[in-house]
């Protein structure tokens, strides 16, 4: 028995015209997919939880847990944890828990602002280098090479020392303008690889202007990398801030950072005042780790969206 195409075709074609290309059975859409793969990552959820907790702890905490953080009170120095001072007091008689809240504010604020500044500069430089190419690119990338080679901590210490009067604002700016290099490299790499992707070619064959390509294709696609980098940048900045404070180049009195508190704590390590040492250190580790968790998960999410077939 032989079958002709016509016969088969008539049988195949259902009467209620399903689309010939078939229905769509793919995974769920866009941000829902991103969100679900993010939520699947328990560490990321934990990270997000920790960050939310510390935001509340630092900014809402002082409204609930009232402490005096303005005047020293030597009589109350090194009180162990008690009902009045949940985590005891430090060498100046400041309530430790209240002080941690204050330090948390500084850490989160500087982490956020410095990363924002770094990301904005880095994205602009990277995008310009990647888009213009040629001499401009070579020049900008040599600058990045040079600045990446100079140890960041040294430069920030020198600048911080010379222009003392470190406030949240000034430290954010100093750290920000010296931390944009990595994001510049990332964005440039992303732009270079996006430029030769087929969908950009497709857009060019339609007559798209450079502007259109940048706004409709390059920016939305490079955004993932940038956002991932911001989270890591926040983690690095908080870490750096802890070290600056520790070395004595943190925030000026009466402001306080966790690093300053650690520096202070070092002197009393052998005296058994554990409450001035470990709680603040644990806070630092938790916050930095939380941002790293989030960054890792976001990076996986960005990759998943690009790689899933």
């Amino acid at each position: 028995m032989t079958v002709s195409i016509g016969e088969i075709y008539e049988e195949v074609q259902p009467s209620d015209v399903a689309p010939e290309g078939g229905q769509i059975h793919g995974p769920r859409a866009g941000w829902k997919l991103a969100l679900s793969s993010f939520v699947e990552n328990r560490l990321a959820v934990a990270g997000a939880g920790i960050v939310v907790f510390f935001i509340l702890f630092s900014f809402v905490g002082p409204l609930i847990y009232h402490t005096n953080q303005n005047s020293t009170n030597p009589i109350n120095a090194f009180l162990p944890p008690s009902g009045a001072h949940l985590l005891g007091t430090d060498s100046n008689g400041f309530d430790e828990l209240g002080r941690m809240m204050k330090g948390g504010q500084a850490a989160l604020e500087i982490g956020f602002f410095a990363s924002l500044i770094a990301t904005v500069i880095g994205t602009l430089v990277g995008a310009v280098a990647g888009l213009l190419g040629g001499v401009v690119d070579a020049f900008l990338m040599r600058i990045v090479d040079v600045m990446l080679s100079i140890p960041l901590l040294f430069v920030i210490l020198i600048v911080g020392d010379r222009y003392n009067g470190a406030t949240v604002f000034s430290l954010s700016i100093i750290i920000g303008i010296f931390s944009w290099l990595v994001s510049a490299r990332l964005v440039r790499g992303e732009v270079l690889s996006l430029r030769v992707r087929d969908f950009v070619f497709a857009s060019r064959t339609m007559g798209a202007s450079r502007r259109h390509l940048i706004y409709k294709h390059l920016i939305p696609n490079a955004l993932g990398v940038v956002i991932v980098n911001i989270t890591f940048q926040v983690a690095d900045t908080i870490n750096l801030l802890a070290i600056l404070g520790f070395l004595g180049y943190g925030l000026n009195y009466p402001q306080v950072s966790w690093g300053d508190m650690l520096s202070n704590a070092l002197n009393y390590l052998s005296d058994g005042y554990w409450w001035v040492v470990y709680p603040v250190g644990v806070c630092l580790v938790l916050v930095v780790m939380a941002f790293n968790f989030i960054g890792d998960a976001l990076r996986d999410t960005v990759d998943v969206r690009l790689r899933r077939r």
């Binding site: 040599r142 600058i143 090479d145 040079v146 600045m147 990446l148 080679s149 100079i150 140890p151 960041l152 901590l153 040294f154 430069v155 210490l157 020198i158 600048v159 020392d161 010379r162 983690a235 870490n239 802890a242 070290i243 520790f246 070395l247 004595g248 690093g259 650690l262 520096s263 704590a265 070092l266 390590l269 052998s270 040492v277 470990y278 250190g281 630092l284 580790v285 930095v288 780790m289 790293n292 968790f293």
Partner: protein
């Protein structure tokens, strides 16, 4: 290959030139008139001018930069007016201690991190892998100063296993052999580096494990250890070489924290002390040195990679 290395060398020199320009500008902006800084606020204007004139600080900027470079080429990094000593001699006194600390820590962290990362990649998602990942993640997220405080708090103060201070020997040989005294500084640097390297090594190992050539090696009937040793190890280590080169600025920063924390002789401690003294010629020279060390490290890493990777070597 030679052409590639020459090109790499030339770009390295250009970057070093750039670093010198940056440090020169820093000096110029931060301490435009060394006379004022050195002679003090009470010195007369004329005396300051005379000092600047005598030392050439009133010449045009580009001339000064030229002479700065000229001095650098001759190995002259400047003069510390605060310590009345050439920066070169300061470095000669302090560099060996720092180099030993960094060198031994990098060596140990490579020796620990590579097998650890490969083990994790091979046993991925096992309990052991997850435990190591958690530990590495914690160490990686920990500022070095807090890590140091934890080590001092427990190992030195609580359990009296190691001294809380590094060896105070000014001479290098006794310093090198003071393993017990230097245990904590070395441990602090190593733990941080292992945390970073092993994370990277694990993912490099996972990437390499997913490669087709691993499957072909298994299809040849090789035993698993042979597959890992011959086919995975080298391919997974290659990207590490570059990473180690790139991590030098972090190592230098780590040295600074550790030397300060354990009061250990070295360039880091010198930097902190002189920063407090507003001894800008010294701290900026140290910055320059750090930058050059980074460039040289990256160059060495590239040369090593060129030798180790036939795809670059034979081309």
């Amino acid at each position: 290959m030679t052409a590639y290395l020459i090109r790499r060398l030339v770009t390295s020199l250009i970057v070093i030139l750039g670093i010198a320009l940056v440090t020169f500008l820093m000096t110029h902006i931060i301490a435009p008139s060394p006379g004022r800084a050195i002679l003090g606020d009470r010195a007369s204007r004329a005396a300051v001018n005379a000092f600047d004139n005598a030392h050439g600080y009133d010449r045009p900027v580009w001339v000064q930069f030229g002479s700065y470079l000229w001095q650098l080429v001759h190995g002259n990094l400047g003069y510390s007016y605060k310590l009345n000593q050439t920066v070169d001699s300061l470095i000669a006194e302090n560099a060996p201690h720092s180099m030993w600390l960094s060198g031994i820590s990098v060596f140990l962290s490579i020796v620990i991190a590579i097998p650890l990362g490969i083990f994790q990649a091979v046993k991925r998602n096992s309990v052991a892998d997850q435990a190591i990942t958690a530990a590495a993640f914690t160490a990686y997220s920990m500022p070095q100063n807090f890590l140091g405080i934890l080590l001092i708090g427990f190992l030195a103060i609580q359990w009296h296993l190691f001294p809380a201070e590094a060896s105070q020997s000014e001479r290098i040989i006794p310093y090198i052999f003071a393993f017990h005294s230097n245990f904590l500084p070395i441990a602090t640097l190593t733990i941080t580096a292992v945390a970073g390297y092993s994370r990277y090594m694990r993912s490099a190992g996972l990437d390499a494990l997913a490669q087709d050539y691993i499957r072909l090696a298994r299809a040849k009937g090789l035993t698993e250890p042979t597959v890992l040793r011959r086919h995975l190890l080298r391919n997974a280590i290659l990207p590490m070489v570059t990473l180690i080169g790139l991590s030098i600025p972090l190592l230098l920063a780590g040295n600074l924290v550790v030397e300060y924390l354990y009061n250990s002789h070295g360039l880091g401690l010198l930097f902190i002390n002189e920063l407090g003294n507003e001894d800008f010629p010294t701290v900026i020279a140290l910055t320059l040195l750090g930058g050059i060390a980074t460039v040289v490290g990256n160059f060495v890493a590239d040369v090593a990679l060129t030798v180790a990777d036939p795809r670059i070597r034979i081309n």
